[in-house]
């Protein structure tokens, strides 16, 4: 990626006061620049997207027909496990952090992140952590195969790779916590006068709340996997009934992290969509205040709904009821959000550039995933749906045409700002339509086979599920290969293209559009003056 030479009409003060990027590879290793680090995060997650996607294609190839055709069941299970771990911790989370790095300082008018060295470390842990995680696939015992939720006692029966999986999670956790703390400090401490909390762009708000969720829950996850580790190697009995512990206790602790985690994967997506829709509807975001309160409410509720992942595991009746109703309550703030997005578009002067297409696709298909989530929230119904492909359909609808679509929307929306070039609009639209068709071919049939009783995480299935599984597999390969187009569009845009203006999009508001495209290596070294025209609301 090329940056314009940085000349702020200011002489260098010495070698430690270098304003432009250092040359060579070491620039990327030692960089403290939020834009460089954002770029690293984004490339990393794009690479991991294809690794995790390759695993998904192995899964779908195996499930293309009943019977065992390509891989043995153990490997199949380690593919489902690793696919989840890679996509959650290696793709969606780092990509959102990358966007946070690039955009938050520019959106609030800060010179950089609050602690740039810590920021560098947050990124440079990721490649090492994932080296450990992925290396387990090549160990004699194979990778983790008990599902990404790592339930004991099954996970404790894993071979030599067990300890490495646990340590890789610790390692990633260090990165997440440091990155989140940095984001919180940046948002609280780096805003110029006039940029009050209730004037911040929605993307900044959603990331503030996401960072809070991360700081609050990642350590709990670290604690849970530490207990697994000691149960395995140091004779503790946390998850063994014989010693007075309980395997179900792991599920409680895990999901106390795990449920906020799913909002970690979607709240920044809400922020992205809330940035894009107003631009292309040429109207300010409808109901900004309610958007903020809805985000905060979702975050709060996310801490009191965890056991809806465990309705069939066994709980007192009162707990089943509590978790059912608290879960359903989440649909209220989420509904507020969907309502606000639709109302923002209402009577807007809409245009449908690629980011807008992905954003609208997000609103519609995320809502489909939300509605199936509401079905799963009903305890008696969930006892039927639990561990079937219906659940798989549900969370893939919120994660793929949800979180992943928001990432694609964000890429198209901000890539002119990052590179200074416009992407190829025609190809972008092709990318959207091909992806959208195939993603539905891929995931919609999973509702049917799920309701008919097809269990998840099993490489073989009954004959009656064959047709829809074949359809889903076609969708998977179509969706997977259409992402090569995404890479092509990105590379093409990085290399050149129509020059972008500073504003890029007609009707775009916010501080990031007041600087040149590509954004100079250092932006807002002096605090910008905040006024009506530079605020998003």
């Amino acid at each position: 990626m090329s940056y314009s030479d940085n000349t702020h009409g200011e002489a260098h003060h010495g070698e430690h006061d270098d304003h432009g990027p250092a040359p060579g590879l070491m620039r990327w290793v030692t960089t403290t620049n939020h834009k460089d680090i954002g770029t690293l995060y984004l490339w990393f997650s794009l690479l991991m997207f294809f690794i995790g996607g390759g695993m998904a294609l192995i899964i779908r190839a195996e499930l293309g027909a009943p019977g065992i055709q390509f891989v043995d069941p153990m490997f199949f299970n380690s593919m489902t496990t690793m696919h989840a771990i890679v996509m959650i911790f290696g793709v969606v989370m780092p990509a959102f952090v990358g966007l946070a790095n690039w955009m938050i300082p520019m959106m609030i008018g800060a010179p950089d992140m609050a602690l740039p060295r810590l920021n560098n470390w947050s990124f440079w842990i990721m490649p090492f952590a994932f080296t450990i995680m992925l290396s387990t696939l090549f160990m004699d015992s194979g990778g983790p195969a008990g599902g990404w939720t790592l339930y004991p006692p099954l996970v404790l029966q894993m071979g030599d790779s067990f300890a490495f999986v646990i340590f890789a999670i610790h390692f990633m956790g260090i990165s997440s916590v440091m990155g989140s703390i940095n984001i919180v400090a940046t948002i609280f401490n780096m805003r110029p006068p006039g940029m009050t909390l209730m004037h911040m762009p929605m993307f900044v708000w959603t990331w503030l709340i996401t960072a809070f969720l991360l700081v609050a829950t990642i350590p709990v996850f670290a604690g849970a996997v530490t207990m697994l580790l000691t149960d395995r190697f140091f004779d503790t009995s946390f998850f063994s009934a014989a010693g007075g512990g309980d395997p179900v206790m792991f599920q409680h602790i895990f999901w106390f992290f795990g449920h906020p985690e799913v909002y970690i994967l979607i709240l920044p997506a809400f922020g992205i969509v809330s940035s894009i829709i107003p631009t292309f509807a040429r109207k300010p975001l409808f109901g900004y205040d309610s958007m903020v309160y809805a985000t905060a409410s979702i975050a709060f509720l996310s801490f009191i709904v965890w056991a809806h992942h465990m309705f069939t595991t066994g709980m007192p009746l009162a707990a089943e009821l509590f978790f059912m109703f608290s879960t359903m309550m989440i649909s209220v703030p989420t509904g507020v959000k969907v309502f606000n997005w639709v109302s923002t578009m209402w009577r807007g002067s809409m245009s449908f550039e690629t980011p807008m297409l992905f954003a609208i696709g997000f609103v519609i298909m995320f809502t489909i995933g939300g509605l199936s989530g509401l079905m799963l929230a009903i305890t008696p119904a969930d006892i039927q749906y639990h561990d079937t492909y219906f659940v798989v359909a549900h969370f893939h609808y919120v994660l793929v045409p949800g979180a992943i679509y928001s990432l694609m929307a964000a890429t198209y929306y901000w890539i002119p700002k990052w590179t200074g070039n416009m992407y190829d609009e025609t190809l972008g639209k092709w990318h959207f339509w091909i992806s959208t068709i195939f993603v539905n071919v891929l995931f919609f049939p999973m509702h049917f086979v799920g309701l008919a009783g097809m269990p998840r995480r099993i490489p073989d299935y009954s004959l009656q599920f064959a047709d829809w599984n074949f359809v889903a597999t076609i969708g998977a390969f179509g969706f997977g290969f259409s992402q090569l187009l995404f890479v092509y569009i990105i590379v093409k845009c990085v290399k050149g293209g129509k020059k972008a203006t500073g504003e890029v999009w007609e009707g775009a508001r916010g501080l990031e559009w007041t600087v040149d495209s590509p954004a100079p290596y250092h932006t807002f070294e002096t605090a910008p003056v905040i006024n009506e025209s530079t605020l998003t609301r």
Partner: protein, 290 residues
């Protein structure tokens, strides 16, 4: 830094983070191999630890140098403060996981194993764990680890409580001293704090020795042993870290660092110290007392 960044210091070319990543990579790979029985893993683990310590010296050394040369303005100071607060919050949540395990085992899974609480627990008890009556402390229906004596609150734990509470007092006295600009007084009060901290750790070690060799209370003593040693163990580790932080602050004070209105490192270490203090009170009440 120049006025171009509004005075906010943006460092360049940070080499320590990558050293830290490599250190942790070697450390984790080594520890994983060691747990799987490899001696090379053990060596790698220690090498990783050594590089990590080297990284900390280098990184913190750089920051201290920058701080002492007046590189940081009040806004940078505020960033450090926020980061420390949120870091302590993350630590609170880490302990919450283990306290959660303790409460869950004592309130739910323990009584259920003993056949209490309805929902078929009595049947499970009769079929799987016949004759097991739940009483805390327990090492479970299978008597994992054999008969043991639980750790009472009187004696060492009570002494430890008094030690930590007094160390909180001496730490606050040190804070008042530096706020009055009395660096030497601060060093003395800090020396007392650090000493109390290390005495605490020594007492804890003695207590563990007692538990292992006289009470037959071990990490493998069922859920009681698990929660007892993991909670007090992680706490002891944090006390050691906090004491080292305070020791560094003390040594810096002896070198003439810190002024009445610039002593964030002191405050960060003090916050951390009060945090381990509060965790201890939770431990004393829920692990020892009840």
């Amino acid at each position: 830094m120049s006025a171009a960044t509004g005075g906010y210091y943006i460092p360049h070319a940070a080499k320590w983070p990558i050293v830290g990543s490599i250190a942790l990579f070697i450390l984790f790979m080594g520890l994983g191999s060691w747990l799987n029985g490899s001696d090379v893993g053990k060596i790698a683990f220690y090498i990783g630890c050594a590089i990590l310590v080297y990284m900390m010296f280098g990184w913190f050394g750089t920051v201290i140098k920058e701080s002492e040369s007046g590189t940081y303005n009040s806004q940078v100071d505020q960033s450090f403060r926020l980061c420390m607060m949120w870091f302590i919050f993350s630590e609170v949540m880490f302990f919450a996981a283990f306290f959660g395990a303790l409460f869950y085992a004592r309130t739910f899974s323990g009584p259920w194993l003993g056949g209490l609480g309805g929902g078929g627990a009595d049947v499970t008890n009769a079929v799987l764990w016949q004759g097991y009556d739940y009483v805390w402390p327990t090492n479970g229906p299978d008597d994992i680890g054999g008969k043991f004596k639980p750790m009472g609150w009187f004696g060492l734990p009570l002494i430890n409580t008094l030690l930590l509470l007094s160390s909180g007092f001496t730490c606050t006295m040190a804070h008042h001293a530096i706020k009055d600009g009395l660096r030497k007084k601060m060093v003395w009060w800090l020396a007392a704090t650090v000493a109390l901290g290390f005495i605490f750790v020594a007492c804890q070690a003695l207590e563990y020795y007692e538990a292992y060799y006289h009470y037959n209370l071990q990490l493998g003593s069922g859920i009681y042993g698990s929660t007892f040693f993991m909670l007090t163990g992680f706490h002891g580790f944090h006390v050691s870290m906090g004491a080292i932080m305070l020791l560094v602050v003390m040594l810096r004070g002896m070198k003439g660092h810190f002024t009445a209105d610039n002593h964030f490192a002191f405050e960060a270490a003090a916050w951390y110290w009060h945090f381990v203090d509060v965790v201890w009170l939770g431990l004393f009440v829920f692990v020892y007392l009840f």
